[in-house]
Amino acid sequence: MNRSLLITTDPIDEAKLIAGRSLSAGMGAVVAFSGVVREREGDGAIAALDYTCFVPMAEHQFHRLFDRLAGRGTVESVRLVHRIGRVAVGEASLWVEVVSAHRAEAFEACQWLIDEMKRVVPIWKQAVPVTPTDPPAPAGSVPATAPSDPHPPA
């Protein structure tokens, strides 16, 4: 199974990713998912999400999930990009593509991968309020607007 993983602070360039797709002549289904930051997170309007990642573990856990996908024998290719750092509303934080011979297994594998990612891959997000009453919280302080929200480590 071909696999590609990128954890990056750069914007996700979907056009470039699609231009880089390759599939063999036996493949009939490509399912792609883009996860985009929404303007509301919980109760409040936000400007962005700040994503933090424990990168070596995230890469290891992603590859464990890819191993499990490969074990199915039905997925020819999986490509995944997770953006970290600040991602503005309307921008993609996640892009996943699965290529299979058949449609059902491509949809299932793509959803499974995202579900498992949300269970085991060490990435956290923190809301950036749209109109902060205070300047951005320095590392080490609990954000005043959302004390129970996740916060990147100092």
Partner: protein
């Protein structure tokens, strides 16, 4: 042995630091480490049920036996996507 512990996400706020060292006898388990961490950082104790623990890059549970040089990470539920 000294086990290095890293706190991720808002656990760093609650602990008051992003990293600490914990002195433990050889053969100590993750559970023993957590007991020590919760004494030093009581704000984390209430979140024990939802706390995830990794040794290196693998998840481990309380029964896992630690070795010298292990690096342990404690963090809340993950939120990728």
């Amino acid at each position: 042995m000294t086990i290095r512990v890293t706190f991720w996400s808002y656990f760093a706020e609650l602990a008051g630091c992003s990293e600490t060292g914990v002195e433990l006898p050889e053969g100590a388990t993750v559970g023993a480490l957590l007991q020590r961490v919760y004494v030093d950082h009581p704000a984390l104790a209430g979140l024990r049920r939802s706390t995830l623990v990794a040794v290196g890059v693998e998840y481990q549970d309380d029964t896992h036996v630690l070795s010298p040089g292990d690096r342990v990470s404690l963090f809340p539920p993950v939120q990728g996507g």
